[in-house]
Subunit: 668 residues, 2 copies
């Protein structure tokens, strides 16, 4: 049976629970045991959020961080040159001073969770539309401002839970100097490539280590998880602690219809074409093959997620269960004072009209993103904190500044490819004669415009970006950089569309979301978990394979299986380290395994923790069924895919030897 | 109101009618006049089917044929070299001896339509599954065999109408030597490119002329349409006579669900990636830009059709009307002796399982298609006619032989690109560990396999293809050509899947289709038109713009508008001929116009005929709304897009002068 999150009490193993509402009774019933508060506090303090979009954990008292290889791929890539390809070769820092900085990356640890629902909901009482979103943004900015005065080491974020039903203040200790310690060869992590991504059985060393620094010294975290390089046991309980990015399990039928009918087809179609453009362009030369790889991996991963969601929403059995859950809740809800489902439906109706212009007036490319952020930040910083767009509030600015100013390589051909692709999709979806298309293109073609902007801009130079950031609005207005001029040209229309989306969609959704949450709690009690928000959650489950079309998928693979699966042709070619150490590698060591934990993108790198509180793996993927997990969790089929600490230990000892790291982990 | 074809009496202007069931009363009611039998016979005799997938008409007594530019683009392309790019430059044959042959092209004129429903339905009475499709194929092969003994000049085709409700024998006079006479520059025809495709207002010279030859002499057709280079009048009746390729208006709800949930997402996703691969590869060099253009145009056109269909089936208002039409027919039908909708639904259920392997075990590339056709033709020709697959029956073989043996250029990079793309999609949709994936790839990657096959094959050489065709099965079995070996390796599995599809899907559908047709005629009478089958149809309508979001789209553009729309950047750059003759061109001449005629892909090149029986344009497109026309016709929005004879005359006189052609048309 497929239980649907939130609208009925969660099924066993379902849920991405907040640490202030851990389902202790459910866990105890499932396993005859549940973590106590000390266990929970310890793991919470050891859990790390990586602002690049991943999860992680401290695993030594010297700030050592365990995460996935794919979470540091961009860092490897940004530190690579044609002569020294760290992504391809892997990276081992023999000494602390060899550890290299990861551009744009920041590590964050939750230090407190405070309920601020009352204050925020009071601030927006009686308001609707744009006024509501403005009041909400102002209230949130004020709360964040009051609680994080030291912005160098702390970060405050008010998180909207249950689509506007609850608001919680999360405070973080932040570490903005994150360095790379160890990573295997890319092929060891991406063995099987896109074809094996989101599949199992799997043979992937998707693990890496980072270290957090502060003032040039390794950080001493408040807590760390004990490294436990053992094999998982079938059936043993596992806890995944991390930051699931986003789910849509509380979506109403009208929201799901919009996803299925409008948003997903546009995403799948557009990104498939981008994938094709990139694959072919990378075949042009070895240099381009290297330079495009990180982006291609990202696109293929996102695309597979979108395709999986589209498949789930095109599965009549799956959608029927979602529909029946909504029917159940409606039957238990008194709507005489206003029907929140109808309010959501009206908001979605308005969004159907706004969606395409809103989406396609935001061109895609790193250089354009710099220009956009610089322009918007300069304009917003000139306003009082409470009146700014949330992305530019005082609490959000430090990370944005770091992301804009950190040095990283820019490949003009790649920028031009993305920009001309996104502009051509804008023209396709909006139409040649649309006013927004004219605003975007003028009389130029997407190809001409992209070539001109990329060739003319100086924004690839971090010194120039710093000059504009520090120069503020005056510097922006005085700049003759073509991408800055272009971002200035688009900005009024982008703001106008943002206002319309806030007024007609986000505002009404927040108001209806609060009512739906109240209805949900009234109907099913308070053992509910909110949709994912890239904030810290804990999921419980167990080590278990699954049944599929009459056959059993075993719960684990071992290192030796890699050699059986290798065909010699990419992406099933052996990593060089594996080939060289074939006779030394412990073939029986557990490599990857699956658990019933309920996770989603953003959980990558999450520690998989056993009953004793020690780490036995790093979650790096879901199986193919878990892609529908965006909308609902199926305990029979959805699985988390984990690289075992036993395999990582074998890599550290035998395949990509790092003796200092082995010692540090053993001493933890 | 959107009337749904077939399930209720057709709305005014709806329908792709067969010539033996012309809706005379409906036309008379709409226009106070209707064509008589002589008018119908004359236009039928002048109508030409082009086997490349287009429609056309004779417009002179010397075998001159009017069609679209995009219907001859492949011919221009196949006759081009880097030094002489006919597609780019256009083509004017000053003398008969300059007219160049079009590879693979054949012109066909209907000479008779005979109802053979009784004979076929009797042959399959009481049968089901694969037995039914075998009996049907045998009966059809026998009928075709008996009626077309002279295969050099005639062709017989038994057409399945109403999904198995009716069978009709179409006999054709065929002309297998078709030559190019006149074509404008590519940019004159494709002004606005893919962005303007399926849109209006439009500024496209999508017209060309061919000539049919026999024994080295121009053909003297039994009839031709009088060339009438005048402007269309708003509201005047128009008749489109041509060969709509395929529609799905009689699909049941379960068939539509399969399209929406499975087939269309796979097509849109796969072809979007191919589009991207091709765009980027073509940017690699000017040579590749030229060599890839014809394929890119084809892919973008197909993709737009798929996206339009996906949008239509994701439009709740549109699908609700289709559902209600089915409900209406069900309400009028007695299903106590078996429910045909349920039978269709069961067949579709089986097809859901078979579809992906059936689709993806057929790799895509011209060279592979040669190999496949050579292998299958050799095997099938060794059997009695009645036991062959329909594509290899005696009546089908002559055209297949021509298509396989005609000389045309092959570009290895393009073959490799398509083949590796289609193999990588097979692996993606079937899964790495699937037996069919292993059959397709062995231990090679899609890229390696495609490179090896394309580099090693001799099938680009027409002499080698002829040697294999004439050598039959023995030559095939003795060949060491890697693509022939590969096709031989796939063939048993392809046949197995074909048998399963016949047994579980096509057979049951044919049986249910007959019942549904009987139900439809019983409920709504005999003024019904069947789904399109790339056979001759006539559509009636009128010259008319439409209303969209409160504004009126005018019914026509004029030549002068081209200069206003031109931006100077591709694809909105002026054709050189237009730029050079800007001051001479008659700016007021009607360029393109729209009519309410109900057409679909395959109708391209169809003559647009006025009440007097003269030709006033060539249909070349539908508007964006017409893409939903695959499933249902909406008289308020669906429009046919036509290039006017007035504009073509201006081109022949002023822009791309062809005095001999002007004289020939005037004398017609």
């Amino acid at each position: 049976m497929l239980a649907i999150a939130g609208t009925t009490p969660a099924a066993a193993e379902e849920g991405m629970w907040t640490f202030d509402n851990f389902p202790e009774a459910q866990v105890r019933e499932a396993y005859g045991w549940a973590p106590d508060q000390a266990w929970l506090d310890h793991t919470r303090q050891a859990a790390v959020r990586l602002t690049g979009g991943c999860s992680a954990s401290f695993v030594s008292p010297q700030g050592l961080i365990l995460t996935n290889h794919h979470c540091v791929a961009s860092c490897l890539f940004d530190n690579s040159t044609a002569a020294a390809d760290l992504l391809d070769a892997g990276f081992i820092a023999g000494r602390r001073e060899d550890e290299v900085a990861c551009p744009g990356q920041q590590a964050e640890v939750v230090t407190g969770i405070t309920d601020v629902t009352g204050r925020v909901r009071t601030a927006l009482e009686g308001l609707g539309g744009e006024a509501l979103t403005r009041a909400r943004d102002a209230a949130i900015a004020a709360i964040e401002d009051e609680n994080c005065t030291d912005r160098a080491t702390t970060r405050c974020q008010v998180v909207t839970l249950f689509g506007g039903g609850q608001y919680k203040l999360y405070t973080y200790r932040k570490y903005s100097d994150v360095r790379l310690v160890w990573a295997p060869e890319d092929r060891a992590a991406t063995f099987g490539g896109d074809p094996d991504n989101f599949n199992f059985p799997r043979y992937s060393m998707d693990a890496s280590f980072l270290r957090a620094y502060e003032n040039g010294q390794p950080v001493q975290p408040a807590a760390h998880l004990k490294w436990n390089p053992r094999a998982p046991q079938e059936g043993e309980p596992t806890f995944v602690v991390g930051n699931p990015g986003s789910t849509s399990r509380l979506y109403t039928q009208s929201q799901l219809a919009f996803e299925r009918e409008v948003a997903l087809p546009a995403s799948v179609t557009s990104f498939s074409e981008l994938r094709g453009r990139l694959i072919a362009a990378m075949q042009g030369s070895e240099e381009r093959a290297r330079e495009g790889l990180d982006l291609l991996n990202g696109i293929e991963n996102s695309l597979k997620v979108y395709i999986g969601r589209q498949r789930a929403l095109n599965d009549p059995a799956f959608t029927a269960r979602l529909a029946s859950a909504e029917t159940d809740l409606r039957g238990r809800t008194d709507v005489t004072a206003g029907d929140p489902w109808e309010q959501v439906s009206e908001a979605v109706g308005a969004y159907r009209t706004l969606y395409l212009p809103y989406r396609y007036t935001q061109p895609s490319a790193d250089l354009y993103a710099y220009a956009h952020d610089l322009v918007m930040a300069a304009q917003e910083r000139a306003k009082p904190n409470a009146e700014r767009l949330p992305a530019y509030s005082d609490s959000a600015l430090p990370l944005l500044e770091k992301e804009v100013l950190d040095e990283r390589p820019i490949y003009p051909w790649l920028e031009e490819l993305r920009l001309s692709w996104s502009l051509s999709k804008a023209r396709e979806y909006l139409g040649v004669d649309d006013a927004d298309t004219r605003l975007l293109l003028g009389r130029e073609s997407p190809e001409q415009l992209a070539a001109r902007l990329v060739a003319g801009t100086k924004l690839a130079d971090p010194a120039y970006r710093r000059q504009l950031w520090e120069g503020g609005l005056a510097a922006i207005q005085a700049s003759d950089d073509p991408l800055i001029r272009y971002a200035l040209q688009l900005e009024p229309r982008q703001r106008e569309l943002q206002q319309q989306v806030d007024a007609q969609y986000r505002g009404p959704l927040a108001a209806a979301g609060a009512k739906l949450t109240d209805a949900r709690f009234a109907a099913y009690g308070d053992s509910q978990y909110p949709d994912a928000t890239f904030t810290l959650r804990i999921s419980y489950g167990k080590v278990a394979g699954w049944e599929e079309r009459g056959t059993t998928v075993p719960f684990a693979t071992n290192l030796g299986g890699t050699f059986d699966r290798a065909t010699g042709s990419a992406p099933f070619d052996l990593a060089r380290g594996f080939a060289a150490r074939e006779n030394e590698i412990d073939r029986d060591a557990t490599y990857d395994f699956v658990t019933t934990n309920d996770i989603i993108g953003g959980n990558s790198g999450s520690p998989v923790i056993d009953r004793a509180g020690t780490v036995i793996g790093a979650a790096f993927d879901g199986n193919i069924h878990s892609l529908g997990g965006n909308y609902g969790y199926d305990p029979a089929l959805n699985r988390t895919v984990v690289v075992s600490t036993e395999a990582v230990q074998e890599a550290l000892e035998t395949i990509y030897p790092a003796p200092a790291l082995v010692r540090e982990l053993a001493g933890g």
